[in-house]
Symmetry: C4
Subunit: 367 residues, 4 copies
Amino acid sequence: MSQSPVPSALTQFLTATAGRNMTKAAYLAVAIGVATMVMLTVNPAYEAAHWAGAVLWACLAFFAFEWVVRIRGSFRSGRPYLMTGRGLLDTAGVIAVPIALAAGAEPRTAWLLAVLWFVKVIPGIPGLRQLRRVLVLESGPLLSVLVLFLMVLFLGSVAEYFLERDAQPQTFANVPAALWWAVVTLTTTGYGDVVPITPLGRLVAAIVMISGLGVFGLWTGILATGFASETRRDNFLRTWESVSKVPFFANLGPSAIADVTHMLRTIDLPPRVTIIRKGQQGDCMYFIATGGVEVDLPGKKVQLGEGAFFGEMALLGNTLRGANVTTTRLSKLLVLDLVDFRLLMARHPDLAETIDAEAKRRALENE
Amino acid sequence: MSQSPVPSALTQFLTATAGRNMTKAAYLAVAIGVATMVMLTVNPAYEAAHWAGAVLWACLAFFAFEWVVRIRGSFRSGRPYLMTGRGLLDTAGVIAVPIALAAGAEPRTAWLLAVLWFVKVIPGIPGLRQLRRVLVLESGPLLSVLVLFLMVLFLGSVAEYFLERDAQPQTFANVPAALWWAVVTLTTTGYGDVVPITPLGRLVAAIVMISGLGVFGLWTGILATGFASETRRDNFLRTWESVSKVPFFANLGPSAIADVTHMLRTIDLPPRVTIIRKGQQGDCMYFIATGGVEVDLPGKKVQLGEGAFFGEMALLGNTLRGANVTTTRLSKLLVLDLVDFRLLMARHPDLAETIDAEAKRRALENE
Amino acid sequence: MSQSPVPSALTQFLTATAGRNMTKAAYLAVAIGVATMVMLTVNPAYEAAHWAGAVLWACLAFFAFEWVVRIRGSFRSGRPYLMTGRGLLDTAGVIAVPIALAAGAEPRTAWLLAVLWFVKVIPGIPGLRQLRRVLVLESGPLLSVLVLFLMVLFLGSVAEYFLERDAQPQTFANVPAALWWAVVTLTTTGYGDVVPITPLGRLVAAIVMISGLGVFGLWTGILATGFASETRRDNFLRTWESVSKVPFFANLGPSAIADVTHMLRTIDLPPRVTIIRKGQQGDCMYFIATGGVEVDLPGKKVQLGEGAFFGEMALLGNTLRGANVTTTRLSKLLVLDLVDFRLLMARHPDLAETIDAEAKRRALENE
Amino acid sequence: MSQSPVPSALTQFLTATAGRNMTKAAYLAVAIGVATMVMLTVNPAYEAAHWAGAVLWACLAFFAFEWVVRIRGSFRSGRPYLMTGRGLLDTAGVIAVPIALAAGAEPRTAWLLAVLWFVKVIPGIPGLRQLRRVLVLESGPLLSVLVLFLMVLFLGSVAEYFLERDAQPQTFANVPAALWWAVVTLTTTGYGDVVPITPLGRLVAAIVMISGLGVFGLWTGILATGFASETRRDNFLRTWESVSKVPFFANLGPSAIADVTHMLRTIDLPPRVTIIRKGQQGDCMYFIATGGVEVDLPGKKVQLGEGAFFGEMALLGNTLRGANVTTTRLSKLLVLDLVDFRLLMARHPDLAETIDAEAKRRALENE
């Protein structure tokens, strides 16, 4: 690779600025590409937009370029990008349209495959890992519900076919047609293109509909249950790391730290975000895990760094927020709600004293 | 403003009686205004109702007046009303119709904008803050589900367009039409105006429908989870204040107060509401946080003030309520359910003794 | 009343056997009456069934008789039956049809009011109190969701009316018609009789549909949250009474009793129900709160009365059930699940010893 | 039976290899049979597929054979197979089609009954016992919701019949037709074949639709609540057995074991499954309840047997997984999540020391 230093340097630069910026550009390209593809299928737009092909080719070129960069990066780091799910999806997005064109498909049809670019967004979805864990952990009950669903589907559609085929030989011509009716009914979609008309057929349909509600309810119940426990677990994991770094909590025993961790919520904030606005009603206090904030007191600005806390005044005296607080850099804060603040103070009186002393010291300083 | 004392006095009076009364009047005006606007769009009603225009103008005048009063109030208090969300909505409600009329729109069309008055109701919705907090805290997972929803939407509609465009060139003319089908299907609405008819198209549709159920279930699961924790938190916050004011709980330690707070529910009652009816089955007792009640004993009426409790007899002896109890003024009561009453008595035997002693004293007094 | 001893005696007898039997008869009469009424509206059935009128009159007579009996009972007991919700519903059921007939309505139309008899079933629904409490306690958030629902309804329908009235002057003729569309869409019913066809109209419709999902999810989340706490509370209340009557738990402190109560479930069983079947896998044990059971041991039958327990063998040794156990009279049993059995044994070792000793004694006896 | 040794030996062999293999074959036969039956109802396929009848008869023969084997097995074991629910379903599946053919039904119609084979899948559904327990335990509230559903159904359909019969004498011809409308509407299916058109009829329909949402929400709330408690219970039961067998937990007191059991999850794995992949982020550790695993360390393979644990390194140091771990035989593992690992270490410091010591020993060994 040493014979072509210019592209190599370019690639290096791109690899360096990759990650966040490249991802953002990719999202933009996905949005533009898919929108253009959708537009192309509308006849009047197709005839007017001669530039559309160029846009699509540009998006494809960008994805191809990103793909090459990632492959090179994977060679360097030794992690096989092409073997990961993401690599496969990216590869499909890059080669699908050219293959379709090469296979002789009409351009407009071939570009329909640009919808595959949409899956590039998946790895960027925030709570996806959480959702996947719920689906994996609850896969047993969810599968059971699916089998029940299929059973009602088959029993219902055969019954309906038997009852309706004489009255409506066209719409209930065979069991696959009845299965279509059953899916549309069980999911409570109800297009109305296939509807039973005999009294017995309607009775069976009513039972299928009510079963649909039941299946739905079970489905939701399972997901709600899984989600509740997953949310608690996820928050604990994200918070635990940070808690042990805050000196304030350092002299707590491990059991108390676990206790505290359950009470805190982690939030990540970019620089120059106003966390607290003067005059607002306060119902939580903040600990700085990483980063820093600026407190905008009358006449002076106080900097607080890692391990410091703020916002405790409003909780102690139930008054309004006394000053604006803004992040100065990318910060990870731990939020302690009023509810948990009080529980914590009740269980760990020494923490209460520390906060109280600090609050008094600050109040004195500001007089 | 001193040169026109009369309108100023009027304004002052209105500002003073504002808040509750003005809000009620505004709700009434919203209801009348929107109803009149809806009616105006019905042709026969339009021709008959010559008074409708006058009603709408009156509502608009009222809102304009309320708007001016609020702006003046905000000048006096120094809080910038026009910059708040509420101020912007109010402004839009006041100026939208006149602007539309000035821009040359037909009166009936311009008055359609009166529907914007509806948003004036938003700040008065009781549990709205709670709902918003759930949506904010769970925005991560909710967004993930939305992205999944969009992904199924796009993949499904492109697939369906590809499979159905030859069979139904009219209804599946382009991808936007297929997207319309996909939205109608994924939300399980199912109008039936666009329905796949090819076997493969129906298979894809079935998958889209079942995905719709899954998305729905995740959505509900997330909201249910968020709501459960928010409800607990909200109740704690509202109750904490009041608990510490009740002398009965004053000698508990902070940990026990947190414990008790989790057990109590706060209710706010206007004057002259009967809380307990003689002869009913009782399953809770009440502590008076603020306000007062009157116990209607045979032959005499006993007044109870802040810090007192009542309704404990039914819980101690599992008998029926012995007397009517009615609020005498605006009161905040703390409700202790039978379940929690027993748990509390078990954990804090001294409280049990206090209640027992008081109950005996009252029983003696009434003999 | 002394001058007519026969009807008085009849009434007394009926009052005595009232309650359970009369309620059952009333349910039967409701079922027969409503079914007959429904059938009467079908033309061929109407012409064939001359006996239908007689059946309906008989049902009405029964309800009128029941009504009179209840009024007499209420005079005797001093509780004003006619003023209660149930009394009003019963009165409406009795007088609605005669009034309609007297007012000159066609008999078939008048008998439609027989559907009011259905509400007589309400007080007999088992979990209704529980459902009502959930609705009352969660009325705040539910109302908020309803207001949000109405807001989306009005904003969506005015927007849709504005966008579609030119394209479909018939279906979107006025805002009430658009409101009909919005209700059908927001509830995801989707009849398909009113469907937007313009691109912008469809975009608004898509937003309305997705909002419909959100409203739905909030609704369900609120109800699920409310139901969870209500179920726990309800079970505690029903179980508490019984627990304190079982001598086995009597020497526990109040805190431990509250603990135990949370673990137990109450079930009410009629006589001659087989609770345990020999050879089944056992995962719970039973305490007899009231009533009695018969254990069908080889060669002899052992009677167990109030306060006794059984089914503990399967839990202690993880073996199969060793004998059939059948109720001998109406019994209230407390069920302790294997999970909670182990937790209980871990927390209260003395209980474990008692059960162990009893189990050994029984095993010896049966050898 | 001794006079025919060959079939008896065959039967014995089949009985021995029954269970898992026979069940798998039966699932395959169900899938093939039902698919063939569905295909037969499609006219072109019916004429082309002369082999279809043979396939169906083969499936039926297999089920008949399985049925006979099971009956013989039940004679030997003394457990009455034919009296169990499963036996009855199997019997129905075997005799339904022959009876229909014998009764003179057309073959294609008779084979429709092959859909009954589908119910053979029921006993194999994993989480079914759990689902059934939820439905049984929550049957009270679910029944209440069903009664409310029926009430809204009847009141709504009679009202709609009364309001719409003059405007649409065809579609709202009688109350059964209106009931059909009400079911389709309350379940939010909304076919659109029967739709109210009068203003009052639409108002009633709107109320019915919104009630449908409410019923749905209650239904889901009940199921979600029931599912949450059932999941916790089920996990506890499955895990308890295994925990007490792991020597690591053996010296904990019973209360601590109950505590630990609540934290662990049981998973069953077939042989040669890779549990941990080198380089992955680890967030749980594993205890081997039964079976064994192989740790693929650089240069050597370490076998771990029952009672051993692995995966603790990643949790202690928050680093990546250091080696592949694969099951060597059918294994039951207990999974301890990072969250619970920390809670456990906090509450039981002696466990923490044991794990720490073992981890250090292993690290030394591998140097």
